[in-house]
Symmetry: C2
Subunit: 491 residues, 2 copies
């Protein structure tokens, strides 16, 4: 049935790679580290984009577009930023090719060397803040609440489809504010937008928190994040929202005159999610038979498979299906009638299971006689016969149930996999045997954080926002601590 999908329990990593391939989501391109997002995978990403875009607009943001290229010198203007990105960027040095003299093809034309090299944007703070300098003069120009959907490039050496690719698609919000308080509020608002999207649309529970200093975005004063737990017990950072302080405003000299006519530096934020969310979505719910998609993000929510012998039966079934399909579509439900005539129903069932379609309807000649259909849910694999009379309501309800069920299943799994530990021994044992998030006391120093990472490969995923204060001692150094943080091995 699983057409060669490895089992999660045996080789999670191979399972993921094969699933991405067999569900027609993406593949590696001829260009090292860059992916091709296939139509079915892209349709899921489009649904994510549309949903997020509406959420951004509902919170007052507009879209704009800034250049792909960043002058090399811009990257250096903010000291942490260049440290963070210079080591993995694609550099454009020439603007023309010419025919090779030996006729072997084309070569770089040495006469077409750029005066200043251009970096393919790894993120756009620098080019955007250099533009904001001209757009912002007065407090009346603030806040400036922009977003862009774009491709970015970070030259990663070890890549995996969706999770880590040299080029990826993302959105990056960049906002400018008159006060520190407003900027922090914006950072938090967008974190909550991301969390809401993850939980309500992806059905993926997340922990909201802040990063430690060493895990912060290069150039930020505070990085907020949402962290999800995958089925193999590893964490995945699903979105980040950065409070930039006045760092980029100072680097690019962006000032405004406030209500008292005093010149001040602007406060900034930036926030982003990327096609990495596709990797999270795949890993959060899918099983050994293939993808499991939350109905709200499924490009095809219902597939209808006819079970027939001969043209006449097919014609009768098709007529019935046409009615069901148009009624479902009138409710905004997307339906695929799979009447491919060269494939057996069993093959089609497995195919749509692999692709994660939430609801499958099978309808045969006997069903027509009995006025019934067989409906299978992808999430629980339950099959049941229903009357055709109100099948559209049944399906609509089922889609809601599936959306909720996979969220709760993921939430139970996540909560079962947050383990409190009191010692480093316990920490290491839980990490090796169970994985998941480990809630432990930490002395707050980067040194301890680094040592734990070196020794165990676990990192501090975040300091949860809703943390309770709790007196304790650091599991590593034994120094006093006031709160627990979440450790995990991570993607």
């Amino acid at each position: 049935m699983a057409k060669g999908l490895p089992k999660r329990s045996e080789d999670y990593s191979a399972w993921y790679n094969e699933l991405v391939k067999k569900a027609d989501l993406a593949e590696n391109s001829p260009v090292r580290g860059c992916m091709v997002i296939k139509p079915y995978g892209f349709a899921i990403w489009e649904k994510m984009q549309q949903t997020l875009d509406k959420m951004f607009k509902d919170t007052g943001h507009s879209n704009a577009y800034f250049p792909l290229f960043i002058p090399k010198s811009y990257l250096s203007r903010e000291a942490d930023h260049v440290e963070g990105f210079a080591k993995e960027c694609a550099v454009v040095t020439h603007y023309r090719l010419k025919n090779a003299e030996d006729g072997s093809g084309v070569v770089v034309d040495p006469d077409a060397k750029l005066e200043e090299e251009l970096i393919v944007r790894p993120t756009s703070e620098t080019v955007i803040w250099s533009t904001y300098k001209n757009w912002i003069q007065s407090h009346r120009d603030l806040p400036l609440l922009l977003n862009q959907w774009a491709n970015v490039v970070r030259w990663e050496m070890r890549t995996r489809l969706f999770l880590r690719t040299a080029e990826f698609l993302w959105q990056e919000g960049h906002t400018a504010h008159a006060t520190k308080g407003e900027a922090i509020k914006e950072t938090e608002t967008m974190l909550h937008v991301y969390a809401k999207f993850a939980e309500e649309f992806m059905s993926m529970p997340v922990v909201r928190g802040v990063k430690t200093e060493s895990e912060r975005f290069a150039g930020a004063e505070e990085t907020y994040c949402i962290e999800a737990l995958m089925q193999d017990g590893k964490a995945l950072q699903a979105g980040t929202s950065h409070f930039l302080g006045q760092n980029f405003a100072k680097a690019f000299d962006v000032t405004f005159s406030d209500k008292n006519n005093q010149l001040q530096h602007v406060w900034g934020t930036s926030w982003g999610v990327s096609t990495r969310l596709m990797g999270a979505l795949i890993m959060a719910h899918s099983d050994d038979e293939g993808l499991v998609l939350p109905p709200k993000l499924a490009p095809i929510q219902v597939v209808i498979v006819p079970i027939y012998k001969g043209e006449e039966q097919l014609a009768k079934i098709s007529e019935k299906v046409a009615g069901i399909k148009s009624e479902l579509e009138a409710r905004g439900i997307s339906v695929k009638f799979d009447d491919r005539d060269t494939l057996r129903p069993g093959f089609k069932f497995a195919d749509w299971e692999m692709k994660g379609v939430p609801v499958r309807v099978a309808i045969g000649a006997r069903d027509l006689e009995n006025n019934t259909v067989e409906i299978a849910r992808r999430d629980t694999k339950e099959k049941q016969s229903y009357s055709l009379d109100n099948v559209e309501s049944v399906i609509a309800d089922l889609l809601d149930q599936i959306q909720e069920n996979i969220f709760h299943k993921a939430l139970m799994f996540r909560d079962d996999n947050i383990t409190k530990v009191e010692s480093y021994e316990e920490f290491k044992e839980v990490l090796e045997t169970k994985g998941g998030f480990i809630s432990a006391h930490w002395d707050g120093t980067p040194e301890t954080e680094e040592k734990i990472q070196e020794e165990t490969k676990a990192t501090i995923r975040c300091i949860p926002l809703e943390n309770e204060e709790e007196e304790g001692t650091c599991i590593y150094s034994g120094k006093p601590s006031t709160q627990r943080v979440l450790f995990a091995k991570a993607y």
Copy 2:
């Protein structure tokens, strides 16, 4: 009133540049030839995208995403293609920067040189056909009907916002077919989609035609195009659809086994429109007071400006406006209530005129007493008082009328500016005094075409699809000709 917009009649080019700037559409970025698309400009582009995307999907296409980078050797695989694009491409040669030894910032790390240079895609035929090779084996895999929305880079030396920029946004459709006939049909279908979009949404009449051999896309067997006429009498190519024959299939060895189990090369098409359409839209309708937008693409279709003295009057007006606004929004009409309290109504009127909002509603205290509003249309500048009772219907009707009126105005202008000429003397005179499209006999040779271009800067824009056969003699060579073609100076 026009806040310094140059007059079209005096300096069309300066008028365009200032309009793009003053209507907040776009600006030049710090990176040579690359633009920043500002929120208001991007909102128009988003409307274009959404409309076109729906049209593509309605004609059976899906979106996907292919890499930004193309290995240098791929470009050379199709001989015409490399000739067309190698001379103006951004070349990535390195993947890392490092700190300069003299502490002056970052420099390219010579140890991080790529084995093979990467080209930032100027168009994606090569990387897509190299991928199609793996996706297409059988006639059952065809047709393959894909599109991508992406950024592309062509290193233009002389750039103008929207019309010609080094980086631009576009969509590129790439389809694969089993037969020549199907591929040609697809090429034509997409040309008609573009024409329909231009005429019904942009209100911009276009001539549908085919390019001469010398104006064809590099790698195509036939290039279909839509050509529009701008108010200064220059033509603008607004979209192209290419029949690629088997050129890219042969270059990348893309074959399929047909129904008789014979191996054949696949037939291809590609088609695209870009942010250049923004330039066309701006130039097609706008006037000396600013932008004129067709309602179907206007991000704000109706602006409501309160005329008031004091808070109390404003409160009463605001209450009334809230009702009108929500009723208009229920009809799917986008409305902005401009209650900025630091600006006078006259300033607001000029501001929204500059931004091309189709309908302006002014409402004051006396209007409330009389149960009226004053409505101004952007296209004709007519102002009229209407009863408040059914103002929503009046506005909805007005928007339809404006959409139609600006199309007809542009159509009349276009038709008045297609001039038939019978001699080269007449040709040159019309070109200098009147401009526009010149319909003339041509002997069909690239040599004549080139000489006319050298001597007059006019090019053959297209051979119209609906051309009638007509015996004649070439205006330049005197040789026999069977049909007229359209010449013009062009953007």
